[in-house]
């Protein structure tokens, strides 16, 4: 069957040719921003769940003799025993000198630690996240046994990091919103240009009985097609960038950073971007045409 041509020849407009390119750039930016938000969200979840169940007890640096074996430090032993007896504590691990040296190695180097360097004692405590111990009572009890010690639940540090990731997420959402707004403004502009360029054809359509919605359909189907095309191009360009980003993050090899593996639902969100761009373009074109024509006599 013969394919019907559009009554308004929008596919011949020069302005329409640039729209997919602009939409592609917008979708590219939106894809990066969304992926960034998703990674930030994973980061926040990981730190939150990973550190909220952990405490670190820091004992004041003892003399060289005390730090040597660990086992011989009576204060440390008392603290470990106290922690093990505390309800809500699921595991207690006392870090020995070698563990602490390993933690400090990135900063001090392997030759930096000598036996006479005073090191604080560290005890890693895992608590039941559902029924955590009363932190203030625990602090008082530990201080009674080991004055000058520190019970750190990481909340201050964690709080700042979580604030940062939330800020990244919020910025990403703002970026996506701005991208949608900019795309809509562009489509509205191109639609208005189209209305002006095809004024005579539109007048003929009106005179032979076309409703405004008929004219709007011409524009919206054109915008849908351009938006979809641009969206697909933008997404295809974003994928290699995301892959590169993931590759660079993995090279950091840090326990702080999560695996930058997006879940299927997150991938679907990214894949939906071209659909979303097409729908935004279509609705913008429709609203622009209907509002412009409604103002006509």
């Amino acid at each position: 069957m013969r394919r019907r041509r559009q009554a308004v020849p929008l596919d011949r407009d020069a302005t329409g040719r640039y729209l997919p390119l602009l939409v592609a750039i917008m979708v590219y930016l939106a894809a990066l921003a969304l992926a960034g938000a998703m990674v930030a969200s994973k980061l926040a979840d990981r730190w939150d769940s990973g550190l909220s169940g952990a405490l670190t007890v820091q004992l004041p640096a003892a003399g060289p003799a005390a730090t040597e074996g660990g086992e011989g430090d009576p204060v440390a032993q008392q603290v470990v025993a106290l922690l093990r007896d505390t309800p809500g504590v699921t595991a207690v691990e006392r870090l020995d000198t070698r563990d602490i040296a390993a933690l400090l190695e990135p900063w001090l180097g392997d030759a930096g630690l000598t036996a006479d360097l005073p090191l604080p004692g560290l005890i890693a405590v895992t608590v039941d996240a559902d029924q955590p111990p009363d932190l203030n009572a625990l602090r008082r009890a530990v201080l009674a046994v080991a004055p000058g010690s520190l019970v750190d639940d990481h909340q201050r540090w964690l709080g700042h990091l979580l604030d940062l990731t939330w800020a990244i997420e919020a910025m990403a959402i703002v970026v996506v919103a701005l991208v949608v707004l900019a795309a809509a403004i562009m489509v509205a502009f191109v639609t208005r240009m189209g209305l002006a360029a095809h004024e005579q054809a539109i007048e003929v359509l009106h005179l032979i009985g076309a409703q405004d919605s008929y004219v709007a359909r011409q524009f919206q189907s054109h915008a849908l097609s351009l938006g979809l095309r641009g969206g697909l191009i933008g997404l295809l360009c974003a994928l290699p960038t995301l892959y590169l980003g993931r590759h660079l993050l993995q090279r950091i090899d840090s326990g702080l950073l999560p695996e930058m593996q997006l879940l299927p639902i997150e991938w679907s969100l990214l894949v939906l971007l071209p659909v979303a761009s097409a729908l935004v373009a279509m609705m913008t074109a429709r609203i622009t045409v209907l509002r412009t024509l409604a103002r006509m006599p």
Binding site: L207, G209, A210, Q211
Partner: protein
Amino acid sequence: MPFSIQASAKGNPSLVRFEDVALRYGTGPEILKHISLQFDPGSYHFLVGASGAGKSSLLRMMYLAQHPSAGRVTLFGRDVTELSRPETALLRRRIGVVFQDFRLLDHLTARENVALPLQISGQAHGRSDKDVEELLTWVGLADHMDALPPTLSGGQQQRVAIARAVIGRPNLLLADEPTGNLDDRMAVRLLYLFEELNKIGTTVVIATHNESLVDRFPHPVTRLSVGAIAPSGEMAKTPAAGPGANPATAKSAAAVAGRESP
């Protein structure tokens, strides 16, 4: 939903009714003044006058491209100034127009141009495709159905425009110089097509300056001169006006002089 013909405020079933109508574009001079006329359903009229007499402007008001600047225009029983945009569109579907400058869409083929009113009004494809082909064949364009308007001669474009105006079997057919680019043989042939449409109930109004052509048909003539209905000659072929008079009544400006516009 199709538009129903309603009786006018005075119970008059006129399809087209002008009451002391004037028209000016912007702040310019009056192009038309004191126009009062009425065309009944199923009537056939010629509107004659020299170039610039206001024929096209009068037709523009009839196909709702222009509202009067004074007076009252009633189409299908409805005051045109009271129509909403959707109502205007529905009413226009009942009016076929042959524009003086054809107004074909250059990127569409002859066939697509003619099918446009059917497409706009959402009529089924299969049947309408056949109707379009039959009509184009009838107007002598069987070999040009897939031609684009710019590749057609003036006369051929005019015939496409005529086919587009009549394809939807309008209740009111308005034609502005529909034979201007046609030889006499084709002109008469098309006027007979309009006659056929008129016989099945279409009200036909033809604006032309070709009085020799008009003389071949026994239809009433309304004569325009410098923006007004000429005080004499316009009723030359019109039967005495009266209730139910057919084909038409066309009242002169003199006959309605002094009527207050609503």
